[in-house]
Symmetry: C2
Subunit: 388 residues, 2 copies
C-alpha cells in the first residue's frame, strides 16, 4: 500500500482533471486567446468559463478573478499591488504572525521600501484576536492580511470578525486573505465576509501546479505586479496558461460537487487520525479540534524524536508525510507558526504534518496509525533524550 498524506503541501491531479486539460494542448483552444481565429476563440471561451467557475465558487463575479502562476505570485501581487497603489494614503500594514512565507517575506520586502508592518499574535490554537487587530490599526493602515486557514495547523481564522473590525474605521482598510489552505475545504463567500483580495492556489485543490488566482474586488486601488502585453486583463499581462486554468477550474468543480459530503468525510478521517495519534504517549496536537480546524489538516508533535527521522522511516514504508511546512524544509528553520502558538524549539522538531484529501481511504489511516506508532516507539528507544 502507498499512502500519500502530504496534501497540505501539494495534491495529486486526478484523471478527470488531466482529461479536461489534455485537449487544450493540441486539439482545441491551443491558440492565443487574444486572437480571433478558431483556436484563439476556443481558448478565450475556456478562459472565460474557468473564470466564471472560480468566481462563482467564492461568490465573486468573473471579472474580479485574475489568474496567476500560483499562490506565491497571487500573494506578491495582492500585497505589493495594494501597498504601491495606496501608499499616498498611508504606509502601515497589519498581518498575523502565522502567515505563509509568501506573505511574511513580501512584508519584509515592503519594509525595505518604507512600509511599517505590525504583527498579530495568535493564541495556543493559532487564532488571531480581532480585539488586538483593532488596537493595532492607525490612521496610516491601508491593508490587513490574515489567512483563512493556517497551512500548518489548520486553524480557521475569524475572517468575518476581522472584516467587521476594519469596517468600523472611517478610512478604507483593505482586507487580503490567503485562502490557499482553505479553498475547497471550508466555504468561502467574499461578499458575506467582506474580503477585498483573496489568494487561491490550484495545486492545493487537486488542480495542476503552476496556476493560481487572485480575487480583486472591483473597486480596489491596485498596481499590477507585471507589465507586458495585455491579453485579457490589464491586471496580469502575458499569455494565460489555458490548459492549466482549465484543469484548475475542473478541479474546483469536482471539489464543490457534494461539498458537504466530501468535507464531512475528510473530517471523519482527520478525527480518526488525530485520536489514533494522540493515543501514542508524549504526543501533542498542534492547532484546534473540531469545526474550527480544516478538514484536511492534522499536525502533531512527538516529543523526544526528530521529525525528519519519522518522515524517512515512513517513506521506506511507502507512507508520505512531511515535517512541518514544505516551505521551511529547505532552510531547516523552526516553523514560525509552531513557535507562535507557544511550542518550544524541541516540540517543533518533532512536528509531523499530515495532509488529508478526499481520495484517502479509511484503511490507509489504519495502516498509517499502525506503522507510525511502531516508528515512534523505535526511534524513542534509540533517542538520546528520554521522557523523565
Amino acid at each position: 500500500m502507498e499512502v500519500y498524506l502530504d496534501n497540505g503541501n501539494t495534491t495529486i491531479v486526478p484523471r478527470e482533471v488531466v482529461e479536461a486539460m489534455t485537449p487544450f494542448f493540441n486539439e482545441k483552444g491551443y491558440g492565443h486567446p487574444a486572437m480571433i481565429h478558431k483556436p484563439g476563440r476556443e481558448a478565450l471561451e475556456a478562459l472565460e468559463k474557468s473564470r466564471e467557475i472560480i468566481g462563482r465558487s467564492i461568490n465573486a463575479s468573473p471579472e474580479e478573478i485574475v489568474f496567476t502562476s500560483g499562490g506565491t505570485e497571487a500573494n506578491n501581487m495582492a500585497l505589493k499591488g495594494v501597498a504601491h497603489a495606496n501608499k499616498h494614503r498611508g504606509k502601515h500594514i497589519v498581518a498575523s504572525k502565522i502567515e505563509h512565507e509568501s506573505v511574511l517575506r513580501v512584508l519584509e520586502q515592503l519594509k525595505t521600501e518604507g512600509f511599517k508592518v505590525s504583527y498579530l499574535d495568535v493564541d495556543g490554537e493559532g487564532f488571531v484576536d480581532p480585539n488586538q487587530l483593532e488596537e493595532k490599526i492607525t490612521a496610516d493602515t491601508i491593508l490587513v492580511s490574515v489567512m483563512y486557514v493556517n497551512h500548518e495547523i489548520g486553524t480557521i481564522e475569524p475572517i468575518k470578525e476581522i472584516s467587521d473590525v476594519l469596517k468600523s474605521f472611517n478610512h478604507k482598510i483593505y482586507l487580503h486573505t490567503d485562502a490557499a489552505a482553505a479553498y475547497t475545504k471550508v466555504p468561502i463567500d467574499v461578499e458575506k465576509t467582506g474580503i477585498d483580495l483573496l489568494t487561491l492556489s490550484s495545486h492545493k485543490v487537486h488542480g495542476p501546479k503552476g496556476v493560481g488566482a487572485l480575487f480583486i474586488r472591483e473597486n480596489v486601488e491596485f498596481s499590477p505586479l507585471f507589465q507586458g502585453a495585455i491579453s485579457n486583463t490589464f491586471r496580469r499581462p502575458g499569455l494565460e496558461n489555458i490548459p492549466g486554468i482549465v484543469g484548475f477550474s475542473k478541479a474546483v468543480e469536482l471539489a464543490f460537487e457534494g461539498f458537504e459530503e466530501k468535507t464531512s468525510y475528510m473530517r471523519r478521517l482527520r478525527d480518526k487520525l488525530i485520536n489514533g495519534l494522540m493515543s501514542i504517549p508524549y504526543t501533542l496536537l498542534n492547532g484546534p479540534k473540531g469545526h474550527l480546524r480544516s478538514p484536511g489538516n492534522v499536525n502533531v508533535s512527538f516529543l523526544f524524536v526528530e521529525a525528519e527521522s519519522i518522515v524517512v522511516m515512513l517513506d521506506s514504508m511507502n507512507i508520505y508525510v512531511s515535517s512541518g511546512s514544505a516551505c521551511a524544509t529547505r532552510t531547516m528553520e523552526a516553523s514560525p507558526t509552531l513557535l507562535a502558538i507557544g511550542r518550544s524549539l524541541e516540540e517543533t522538531h518533532g512536528s509531523i504534518m499530515f495532509g488529508l484529501s478526499r481520495y484517502n481511504k479509511e484503511e490507509e489511516i489504519n495502516f498509517v496509525l499502525e506503522k507510525i506508532s511502531q516508528v515512534v516507539e523505535k526511534l524513542r528507544k534509540i533517542s538520546p533524550v528520554k521522557p523523565s
Copy 2:
C-alpha cells in the same frame, strides 16, 4: 484541411510532450520537490534534469537556469531584477525600439521609479546598429536589452556585436536578451555571445503554456521579483510547475534533435511562402530575407486591405494566421515594430504575420497561397481605397 500558421504567437504541444508531462500529474513526481519522500524526490529529480536540458541548450550551467511562469515574468524579472540591484551604480538603461511589450512596458514602469531609458532605432529591416548603441552608453548605464529575434518580423539582431560594444566599456553593463522568438529557431550560445540574462518561453517552442525560464549568469547582481517560500532557488520562490517544466524540457530536446535539418526545412517553407505572397500585387515584405531572418517568420503588408478582414476570411477557410503581433491585437494599436522600420500607418493595417513550425507541411503552404490570393483579390475589389 486545417492550417495553423500562428506559431509566432503560440504553438501546438505535440503528443510526445504531453506524454512526457502526464505521469507527473498523478503517477510519479507529483509531490513537492522540497520534500524528502519519494514523490518529492522524483519531482526534484525531474526538475534538475529539466534544468540541465535547458542549460545545455544555450551552453549555460543548470544553476544559471531559473524557471518562471513564462516570457513575461522572465522579462519583468530580468529588467527589474538588474535595475533594482544595480541602481547604486547608475540608473540608465538602453533598449531597442522593437522590443516585445513585456520589455517596453517594464521600462515604462522603471521610468516612473527614476530610471532613464534610451531607445535604439532600427533600420528598414529591423536591425539595431551597434555603433548607435555605443553612442548611447554613459557612465550611468547598467543594462542593455536587445531581443535575439524580433517576434513580428523575424530579424536576427547582432547580439555578439552588441555584447562586444558593452565589453569595451570599463564599467559592467549587463546584457539582457529576450530570446522568446529565437529559441529553437536559431542557435544560442550565452558564452560565445556574452549574454548575461536570457529570456526563454515554453509555449513558443511546442512546450506547454505557463512555463518559461530566465538564464541569469552566475555573477549577476540581481534582486528577485517575488518573495516567498524558498523551494529550490532563492531567485524565484514558490512551488515549481513540475509537469510544465518537464514538458518544456521535452519540447526543447525534440527541437534540438536534428536541429539543422528542422530549421532548414522551416526556412524552405518560409521562402516558398514569401515568394508566393510577393507575387501578389502591392505586397511588401516586412523584415529581412535569407539567413538573417528567423526560419519561422513571415510578415507581409497587403496594401489597400485591412488585415483583420483577411484573418477573418482565412479563418472561415480553416487557415489560422494573425494580424501583426498578438500583443497589440486587443488594444488595436499599430505595431511599434512596423512603425520603427518605417512602415506607414496604412501599411501596418494590412500586415499579416505567418508563424511557421516544423510541423507545417508543404501542401499546407500551397493551400494557403491559393486561398490568400483569392481573399486579397476579393477584399481589394470591395475596398474603398484602390491602387492609383
